[in-house]
């Protein structure tokens, strides 16, 4: 028998035995040992020193270090006559950007939202697992706080974290008021599911389309509020006044290449994460534009980064079929009882341990020869999806995971019948631009919200906290940015920080290897194209 099929049959056969097995959540000491040995965050030779700027002396992955030392695409003598003058410029069309824009607008600010792709094209739209909000009787914001703190290896900024958990229920109420349809139980209460690393069930879900549902509604509301949007207009450089405050941005219309200058009293960066940098060569679950733009833009104007050396490798990225390599398999599968099973048909980790621990355990299994090889040469372990129908009743998978059923069906795989092969995929930027509780970075006038920001999640984000982060801190940043805009006139527009940054590069003997923001990854094959064997008749 084909070795994959043979291993698969072990998965099916061993279910009863595996169900009897209880694998405890790892102790902090064991956790530490495991992640140090196998988690990509601890691979020392992938890490480079940051040689200039506010985080000089720290280390981060090569891809991010190169980004921080990259050159601006803008010439210092660019004509800075603004085409747009607004109170609040929101950069990014995902969940955080939409929330920030709606909030700033509701406070009376004149808002412009600009985004690299289309409004709504984001990681938000792909979030399947749910949003953590502590609402059940035996749960509390304090329990949510402690769960998150443990998940983040105690490195979370406690003040940010308190805001997240304490304002979570209000954030959920706001979304429901906009028409988001979270799953309900028979009595009309919100249904909750348990996520990895959490001691209580507190995930609110819209089947496995939670992010899509939230983003659809937020985008529609941005349109209803008639907030002007410029799509395909990424920020390529920020603007500062002579005292270093952020006063606007230069955009690029990527349809025609022309630059657009925006004067803004407050700027909110909500540009998301950096999966498309393919850190340490990992495939990613991220959207096309996730190139870490906020990191480089904010760093150049002098904002400090927090935890910019830690990334989340989601334990269950698909490795087969090859076309889905890197695509996410929602954690909801494990929440509902799906087992992780190695080549020999054995479980090897508590499936609901924190993501870094589960990812490290999968990498360990594969490194020690207990992984399953795919025909394309990838390696992974099984995620026993059909278990869910056995545990929760026939039809549960179809009802709870319609998006995933559809995704695999396209390749002839019926996840109601067959387990799937998975391996960790680059999923989330745990850190980002350091912010305070108002979403303000260390640079006056520059606010950051969502995945682009750093400090909240510590060194490992707990499942379901990202959607909540977008809403809570999107609102916070929108409020603070609108307030600041009311406090005085617009500042002067200069590129003095670019000149200063270039001098610093030179002083440190650094020759930038790239120009950034990168905007879009280069996936175009540049080799000579073979001519088609047949010509159109």
């Amino acid at each position: 028998m084909d070795p994959i099929e043979e291993s698969k049959s072990q998965v099916l056969k061993g279910r009863d035995e595996r169900r009897k097995l209880t694998i405890p959540i790892q102790t902090p000491t064991d956790k530490d040992r495991l992640v140090h040995a196998y988690h990509p965050d601890y691979k020392k030779d992938e890490y480079h020193p940051i040689r200039l700027g506010p985080n000089a002396g720290e280390r981060t992955v090569r891809e991010v270090a190169e980004l921080l030392e990259s050159d601006s695409s803008i010439s210092a003598d660019l004509d800075l006559t603004p085409q747009y003058c607004v109170d609040v410029l929101v950069v990014g069309g995902g969940g955080a950007g939409a929330t920030a824009a709606l909030t700033a607008k509701s406070q009376g600010a004149n808002v412009l939202l600009v985004t690299k792709l289309r409004m709504g094209d984001s990681n938000t739209v792909m979030a399947q697992g749910g949003m953590q909000v502590a609402i059940t009787a035996d749960d509390s914001p304090v329990t949510h706080f402690y769960d998150t703190l443990r998940g983040g290896h105690h490195k979370n900024d406690p003040n940010l974290l308190k805001v997240l958990v304490d304002e979570g229920p209000m954030a959920a109420q706001w979304l429901i008021g906009l028409g988001v349809l979270f799953d309900r139980d028979e009595s009309g209460n919100l249904k909750t599911k348990k996520g990895g690393g959490s001691t209580k069930p507190r995930l609110l879900t819209c089947s496995d389309y939670t992010g899509l549902e939230i983003m659809r509604v937020l985008k529609d509301e941005v349109l209803n509020r008639q907030i002007p949007i410029l799509e395909f207009s990424p920020v390529v450089e920020l603007l500062t006044d002579p005292d270093g405050r952020c006063t606007g941005a230069v955009l690029k219309n990527i349809d025609n290449g022309q630059l657009i200058v925006v004067e803004a009293k407050s700027v909110i960066l909500a540009t998301g994460g950096s999966g498309r940098l393919h850190i340490e060569g990992f495939p990613t679950s991220n959207h096309y534009g996730a190139t870490g733009d906020a990191l480089v833009l904010a760093y150049r104007v002098g904002a400090k980064l927090a935890h910019a050396d830690t990334f989340q490798y989601h334990p269950t990225g698909s490795v087969f079929p090859e076309q889905l390599a890197g695509a996410l398999v929602t954690e909801g599968i494990r929440s509902d009882g799906g087992h992780l099973v190695n080549l020999n048909g054995k479980r090897f980790v508590n499936e609901l341990d924190t993501r870094d621990v589960v990812a490290a355990a999968i990498i360990r299994e594969c490194a020690q020869g207990r992984g399953v090889k795919t025909p394309a040469g990838r390696v992974g372990v099984w995620l026993d999806v059909p278990m869910i129908d056995l545990l929760l009743g026939e039809g549960s998978i179809t009802k709870r995971f319609p998006a995933m059923v559809r995704q695999f069906e396209r390749y002839g795989i019926d996840i109601r019948k067959e387990p799937v092969l998975i391996y960790p995929t680059l999923h989330y930027q745990n850190g980002g631009v350091a912010i305070d509780v108002h979403g303000q970075s260390q640079v006056e006038g520059l606010f950051v919200a969502g995945e682009a920001s750093g400090g909240l999640h510590g060194r490992n984000r707990l499942m379901g906290n990202s959607l909540l982060d977008l809403i809570v801190f999107g609102k916070r940043a929108g409020t603070a940015a609108a307030k600041r805009a009311k406090s005085g006139p617009a500042g002067k527009l200069t590129l003095s920080h670019v000149t200063r940054f270039r001098k610093e590069l030179e002083k440190n003997g650094i020759k930038p290897t790239r120009v950034a923001p990168i905007i879009l990854p280069d996936y175009v094959r540049h080799e000579e194209i073979a001519h088609a064997a047949t010509v159109k008749q």
């Binding site: 402690y146 349809l181 175009v524």
Partner: protein, 234 residues
């Protein structure tokens, strides 16, 4: 050391097939998605790619397979090319009207549908929208259900909708079915479903200061003290 990602060849295996991209034939390996076939053949893709995970609807494409007369729609990031296939990315951009409304001030959400999208009730049952949907939603039935006020059912049926808009240009009654459904779904959530009690209770507790003293205590702790406090109680 990490390798640059060869996204354009992911999935490629052995056999070479011929596909037509916007009318031009190319030889590509079997196993590529439409989007990867475009990268493979040297196309820069700006408009026409988004989440790359089948959720955002940016990469809607129209295609025809060999020996079939029918044009079909698909998401280019999720669909494999096959020998003899001809396709183009249609960019999912339609300058359709999206009604502007304020959910908070609408008095009767079901009646309001006829004000904001009056064309919704003019469906002529041609079923083209359902045929056009790459997500397999029974769009036509959804429009009728919206018109008859079954907003709850509409919201369930359209949970899979990625708003790619493929149902819009095919409609002979000038309906934008996805927007009709989104209105119905939002109204269902915001206005026609009772707010959840468990959430309201927690919000009241927080606003009445139930946790205030505990937060003061927690936020005065240092990292070590927090570490101890965070240990799960057995």
């Amino acid at each position: 050391m990490s390798e640059p990602m060869s996204e354009s060849t992911i999935g490629a295996h052995g056999k070479t097939i011929t596909v037509e991209i916007m009318g031009r034939p190319y030889a590509v390996p079997e196993g590529l998605t439409m989007l990867r076939a475009m990268w493979y053949t040297g196309h820069e893709v700006v408009r026409g790619a988004g989440c790359l995970g089948g959720f955002c609807g940016a990469c809607a494409a129209t295609y025809r397979t060999k020996d079939d007369v029918r044009l079909r729609n698909a998401l280019a990031c999720q669909t494999l090319v096959e020998d003899g296939m001809s396709f183009y990315l249609n960019f999912s951009y339609y300058p359709n009207r999206k009604a502007v409304y304020d959910l908070d001030t609408i008095s009767d959400p079901k009646q309001e549908l006829f004000k904001i999208y009056p064309e919704a009730s003019l469906c002529r049952n041609c079923n083209a929208c359902t045929e056009a949907c790459p997500q397999g939603i029974d769009v036509r039935d959804g429009v009728w259900k919206a018109v008859f006020g079954d907003f709850a059912k509409v919201s369930e049926m359209f949970m899979d909708c990625v708003m790619c808009g493929q149902c819009i240009p095919v409609c002979i009654a000038d309906i934008a079915p996805n927007h009709v459904a989104l209105y119905a779904s939002r109204a269902q959530g915001a206005r026609l479903t009772a707010p959840p009690q468990n959430l309201a209770l927690r919000v009241t507790e927080i606003q009445s200061g139930k946790y205030a003293a505990e937060w003061t205590r927690i936020l005065s702790m240092n990292e070590e003290e927090l570490k101890i406090a965070a240990q799960p109680s057995k």
